[in-house]
């Protein structure tokens, strides 16, 4: 199964929409899209994973890599997640404390981007440091 990654500008941010399963095979496609977006100088990035029904640690590491570059540029990275089992991967790794998660794209674009971490810290296994 392939993933579909598209990029567009909305409300002053770059929205990267991902549809499909993000795993060790497909994560490089997301990595390329995020790297291209960052290379263009975009520092307000929202990754819309509403259409993602599977995410593994290789997908997370792609997001962490992008986050590091965005932070160096004083930018923001937000992620939209609506599927429970995808949100769970963020919680289990503690990444929800580092990357703000939103249930809907409008929340990510309207809200206090990158100001407040998302909730649900209870299942963290990494102690919160990414």
């Amino acid at each position: 199964m392939e993933i579909d990654v598209t990029t567009r500008q909305e409300s002053g941010c770059t929205v990267v929409t991902v549809v499909g399963e993000v795993d060790v095979y497909t994560a490089p496609t997301l990595d390329e899209a995020l790297s291209a977006t960052l290379a263009e100088g975009n520092t307000c990035v929202v990754v819309d994973m509403t259409g993602v029904d599977f995410l593994d640690s290789t997908g997370l590491s792609v997001l962490v890599k992008a986050l590091k570059r965005i932070r160096e540029a004083d930018g923001s990275l937000d992620v939209v997640v609506s599927v429970d089992r995808v949100a769970k991967v963020f919680r289990l790794t503690g990444l929800d404390k580092v990357i703000p998660l939103h249930a809907a794209l409008a929340d990510a674009l309207d809200g206090d981007r990158a100001d407040a971490p998302a909730a649900n810290y209870d299942e963290s296994i990494t102690g919160g440091e990414a």
Binding site: M1, E21, D23, V24, Y25, F54, D56, S57, T58, L60, S61, D84, R85, K88, V89, L92, T93, E123, I125, T126
Partner: protein
């Protein structure tokens, strides 16, 4: 006791097949939908890890995934050929995730065993 054995070349594109087969077997023996999600992710991480170990070690042998159903217990055994002493390529994130997802886990060199039990 029943089960299946799947062997895949150490290539990233084959990891999904292992996930799909494991989840189908887990569903058949009656694991809950939350457990199925855990099986999907844990088996995916375990097989991805095996593929990464083979790539790191330039190993071309197949990776084995044994799916074993005994009574209410569902076990997946992922066997690679990379042996012991190879550092985790991802700082251990995959193993940490697997530990959080599988109620029982045993790592013995190249053999990673994960088990779940049905609620009944």
């Amino acid at each position: 006791m029943s089960g299946a054995t799947l062997t895949i070349p150490p290539l990233a594109e084959h990891v999904r097949v292992a996930r799909v087969v494991a989840v189908a077997a887990a569903r058949r023996i009656g694991l809950s939908s939350e457990q199925l999600d855990d099986v999907r992710l844990a088996v995916g991480e375990a097989v991805s890890r095996a593929v990464s170990r083979h790539i790191a070690g330039n190993l071309v042998q197949d990776i084995s995934i044994d799916i074993i159903e005994v009574g209410s217990e569902f076990t997946v055994v992922v066997t690679d050929h990379a042996g012991v002493g190879l550092p985790e390529t991802d700082d251990g994130v995959a193993l940490a995730l697997i530990r959080a997802l599988a109620p029982r886990l045993q790592l013995d060199g190249s053999v990673l065993t994960l088990s779940w039990a049905t609620a009944a």
